[in-house]
Amino acid sequence: MNPSQSFNNASQALPLFMLNANVDKIIDDNNNHELPIYDEVKQITYYAMGLGNDAPNGYKTIGTRCLRYSTTRKRGVSGTSQDPKNAIDDAKNVPR
């Protein structure tokens, strides 16, 4: 994607450009994180990862990637998919 053609000055994703971030990859990764997998027996939540994942079971937990975006603070109730307040996560809503 050519960033200049899809983002305006009001875009929430603008800070990502300032960090020379790969917005496409961030959006793809973030979309992957929309798929929580809950292990009922282990009582542990996993999120599917994008390319480059070498976890033996195909999934791994995420806990160190909050520099780019929060994996849990989505829209709606804080920490859930109902969280209205996560500006950086809104990058995924920018027209593609």
């Binding site: 929580p36 809950y38 009922e40 027996v41 282990k42 009582q43 542990i44 939540t45 996993y46 999120y47 937990t61 995420i62 806990g63 994996t71 849990t72 109730v77 804080s78 920490g79 859930t80 998919s81 109902q82």
Partner: protein, 130 residues
């Protein structure tokens, strides 16, 4: 046993639970949005004493109020009833489950908490802070 009150989407309890499992500390995760689908609550009153047990049907584990040593509340969600089709019945059940969840946390208020369900609200009150 440690009771973690959270939701299924929250990954932050995961490494904590993994670490507790490694340390052989029993953990019970209560995902509040699944209160009406994944859990059975059993209340008893004997010898002038209330007691309750929560059973996680999917995981096959239980926790009793007497066995709860500490509680970590982290970003609970309102209970949902996806298995109920009637809109009015669904609304009533979800509202009752939410009220029950509030009452349950009050009932457990004297336990050791991280992120106390009641006191945290007091601490976050701007009016009281003035």
């Amino acid at each position: 046993m440690i009771l973690i009150i959270t939701n299924k989407e929250d990954i932050h309890p995961s490494p904590v639970i993994a670490q507790l499992n490694e340390s052989n500390v029993p953990v019970f995760r209560l995902n509040t949005e699944a209160l009406l689908t994944d859990y059975i609550f059993n209340f008893t009153y004997t010898n002038n004493r209330y007691a309750f047990e929560i059973k996680n049907c999917a995981a096959g584990i239980s926790i009793s109020d007497a066995s709860i040593t500490s509680i970590w509340e982290r970003r609970i969600e309102k209970p949902t009833a996806p298995h109920i089709n009637d809109p009015e019945l669904k609304r009533i059940c979800e509202a009752e489950a939410w009220e029950f969840l509030i009452a349950l946390r009050y009932y457990l208020k004297d336990k050791f908490w991280i992120g106390h369900a009641i006191h945290d609200n007091t601490a976050s009150s701007k009016i009281l802070q003035i």
